[in-house]
């Protein structure tokens, strides 16, 4: 009995004496929770999906860096209400995933820490970022994040239907080079297949139209936001874009009355030729294209938006790792630098999700180029552009413009009226900003 008591006391003393002296960094991310599948995995190459790859990467970092403890908080998409609440409460995480288009909202209020010094310590220079990545995290001349990827809209194409319409050459889809040619292709496609050329989400999907509008405004070198308080939408450049898509709708060359899930199903089921949607759908569509018996089987290609006006351009966004302002110990800063260096060295793994890399070196590797469709869309990492760094509330602005564009494209409002209304509503919003 006495021996047992001594043993218990010894165990207690041993247990109490073992404090966790690891440096702790706290990371907050979206992309969902998948601990059931990947909670213990460190095999990054075997992981799939955004959640799986990121979870495995963080596990791997902890395994390779036993002196650092990584606390993880997975937040409901997109996590900004929680981040704002944490900042207001004075307890933000050390590192957060953030859309590059949102960085201005936080940076403009001095809530983010410039990361130039930390990235330098990690051995990561801004010159290593892709052009799109660098533009996405550079605000007022300083680097406010480490870019993680570039995301944007692409033409997802059903090549079987395109072939039926005679719109394939040397095994590659033929895309139009002008608005007139786009209408011509769409009419030929309709006649040959009996299906609409475009599949579009017109319901509850304001960002669809905004992505197209911004892309072709950038292509025409139009100034969309002349300053932080004004948008310029009632312009000839904007009118010719919206009128083109209004005409496509009026002639029945696109699907109608579909939300995003319905449009996705329509594309998978071969109900139309081209679905302009994001890089993030490459994975699911590629899986369909690899499944015998499915309408998309061996019939899928993806390309950047065609060059209809001016120069090659793409409106893009991206994910980044940012640091909210807070007190940190030198040890924590060093741990964060090591974590960022680790992530940067594994940026290729992330590109398996369908997103474009944020680092030039990855873009050039045969490994990346050999991933399905990536060589076709890699140019977007250079041509991709965001709105000017002084534009805040981009998400809310997209909502307002998208509503008006939906009304214009579907014929509820005349095009000019919709553009005037969009301009007025956005300017009112920007005028109210503190």
């Amino acid at each position: 009995m006495r021996a047992l008591a001594i043993l218990l006391l010894a165990l207690l003393a041993f247990g109490c004496g073992r404090g966790d002296d690891r440096t702790e960094i706290f990371i907050q991310r979206f992309f969902g929770e998948c601990g059931a599948v990947y909670g213990q995995s460190i095999d990054v190459a075997a992981a799939e999906s955004e959640c799986g790859i990121l979870t495995t990467l963080i596990n791997r970092f902890e395994a390779e860096n036993p002196d650092i403890r990584v606390g993880i908080n997975v937040v409901a998409w997109p996590g900004y209400p929680q981040l704002s609440a944490q900042i207001a409460a004075g307890d933000p995480p050390d590192l957060v995933t953030m859309h590059q288009s949102v960085i201005s909202d936080y940076q403009g209020r001095g809530l983010l820490e410039p990361m130039d010094g930390l990235l330098r310590e990690a051995g990561i220079g801004p010159e290593t970022f892709t052009a799109a990545g660098r533009r996405g995290v550079t605000k007022s001349g300083r680097t406010y994040g480490m870019p993680w990827d570039t995301i944007g809209r692409l033409f997802h194409i059903n090549t079987r239907l395109m072939a039926e319409a005679g719109l394939m050459r040397d095994g590659r889809p033929v895309l139009p080079r002008s608005p007139e040619e786009l209408l011509d292709h769409a009419r030929r496609f309709r006649q040959a297949t009996g299906k609409p050329y475009l599949i579009q989400a017109h319901v509850n999907a304001p960002d669809t139209h905004v992505g197209i509008l911004y892309t072709y405004l950038l292509a025409q070198a139009a100034v969309i936001f002349p300053d932080a308080r004004h948008v310029r939408l009632n312009t000839p450049e904007a009118r010719r874009i919206v009128e083109l898509f209004r005409r496509i709708q009026a002639e029945g060359l696109t699907t109608r009355n579909q939300d995003f899930p319905a449009a996705t199903a329509a594309f998978i089921n071969g109900d139309g030729g081209i679905f302009p949607t994001g890089t993030w759908m490459i994975g699911p569509y590629d899986a369909e294209a690899a499944t015998p018996g499915q309408p998309l089987y061996r019939s899928y290609a993806v390309l950047p938006f065609p060059h209809l006006w001016g120069r090659d351009a793409a409106f893009v966004d991206g994910h980044a790792w940012v640091m909210p302002r807070r007190e940190r110990t030198p040890e924590q800063r060093r741990a964060l630098a090591r974590f960022l260096r680790f992530l940067a060295s594994h940026n290729y793994d992330w590109t398996r999700t369908g997103h474009l890399p944020a680092f030039q070196a990855v873009l050039a590797t045969p490994q990346f180029r050999s991933l399905p469709h990536r060589s076709d869309i890699a140019a977007m990492a250079a041509t991709g552009a965001q709105l000017p760094d002084y534009v805040q509330r981009q998400s809310a602005i997209q909502g307002l413009i998208g509503e008006e564009l939906e009304a214009a494209v579907t014929g509820i409002k005349p095009v000019e009226r919709a553009l005037v209304d969009a301009e007025r509503r956005v300017n009112e919003l920007l005028a109210q900003m503190l």
Binding site: F30, F31, G32, E33, C34, G35, A36, V37, G39, S49, E50, C51, I72, N73, V74, V75, A76, W77, P78, P81, Q82, S84, A85, Q86, A88, A89, G90, D91, F260, P261, T264, A265, I268, N269, W280, P284, A287, E288, Q294
Partner: protein
């Protein structure tokens, strides 16, 4: 017994109307349940396949394999039960006070409490959040429970119920030597049990389903409630590429509520009927 009596006094057209109404109410629930047993990939192609085999438990397995799901379930239970107990205690006391006690500015204070019904939660969320931050209550059970205790509806509800109880009962108890609190505790409170049950069920349901405050107060995953936790496990575009999982989450989150409803069905129906008659 006539056929109409056997149907609860309803004529055939009325019965058909009730049946159709019930079908309309139940249809989305059945739709949700069926979708939850389908694979995500199949639903991405066509959500209309919900009523045809094959079915799978994969979505439920994914939920149950989640690292934190039972922690979130316990958190929700603690917060909901804690809020319900607190609301019942406070609203009963306040209701008794407003219904039975005379004190200066009673009417004005009652009107002031009722004004709370007109103020939406979002209007006070910023000062409330800052207050809780200063008190260091975020990411804690008190932080999740306390805001739910300020319930003007509950105070109003209990006040009305106490007012409906004859004052003669108080007088008789006092004549028998009961104190003010003894009268409240031993005589009046037991008579309000139906109201307590109703208020308790409504409070529990509201607290269980609460999303906005837990979302911004509980920012660490070990303090998430079930609603916030399940939302955090969704990927972007879940409605497109993870529809089955999304529906399984909805079903899973509603199971405890369903159990509460089954247990307290009598009280809920009585409360609804009572409210309609009044």
């Amino acid at each position: 017994m006539s056929a109409a009596k056997a149907r609860g006094g309803l004529s055939t057209p009325a019965l058909i109307g009730v049946f159709l109404g019930a079908a309309v109410m139940v249809a989305p629930l059945v739709w949700t349940l069926m979708l939850s047993f389908k694979s995500n990939a199949e639903l991405m192609r066509d959500a209309g396949t919900a009523f045809s085999a094959p079915y799978t438990f994969e979505n439920y397995r994914s939920i149950l394999q989640g690292n934190m799901v039972f922690r979130w379930l316990i958190n929700s239970a603690i917060v909901s039960v804690g809020t319900t107990i607190g609301v019942l205690a406070l609203c009963s006391l306040a209701g008794y006070g407003f219904a039975r006690l005379d004190f200066p500015f009673r009417r004005s204070l009652f009107v002031f409490v009722l004004l709370g019904l007109a103020i939406p939660e979002q209007a006070v969320i910023l000062p409330q959040h800052q207050l809780f931050a200063q008190l260091g209550l975020h990411n804690s059970y008190p932080g999740l429970i306390l805001p739910g205790l300020a319930g003007p509806f509950g105070v109003f509800f209990m006040t009305q119920y106490f007012r409906a109880i004859p004052r003669e009962l108080d007088e008789a108890a006092m004549l028998d030597g009961a104190s003010r609190f003894g009268t409240f505790w031993r005589v009046l409170l037991p008579l309000t049990l139906p109201a307590q049950a109703t208020l308790g069920v409504f409070t529990f349901l509201a607290s269980w389903n609460s999303y906005w405050w837990p979302l911004i107060s509980a920012t660490r995953s070990d303090m998430f409630t079930l609603t916030v936790g399940l939302a955090s496990s969704q990927m972007n575009y879940a409605q497109t590429s993870g529809l089955g999982f999304l529906m399984a989450q909805a079903v899973f989150a509603s199971i405890p509520i369903l159990i509460v409803y089954v247990i307290f069905q009598k009280q809920i129906v009585r409360a609804m009927a009572g409210a309609a008659v009044r």
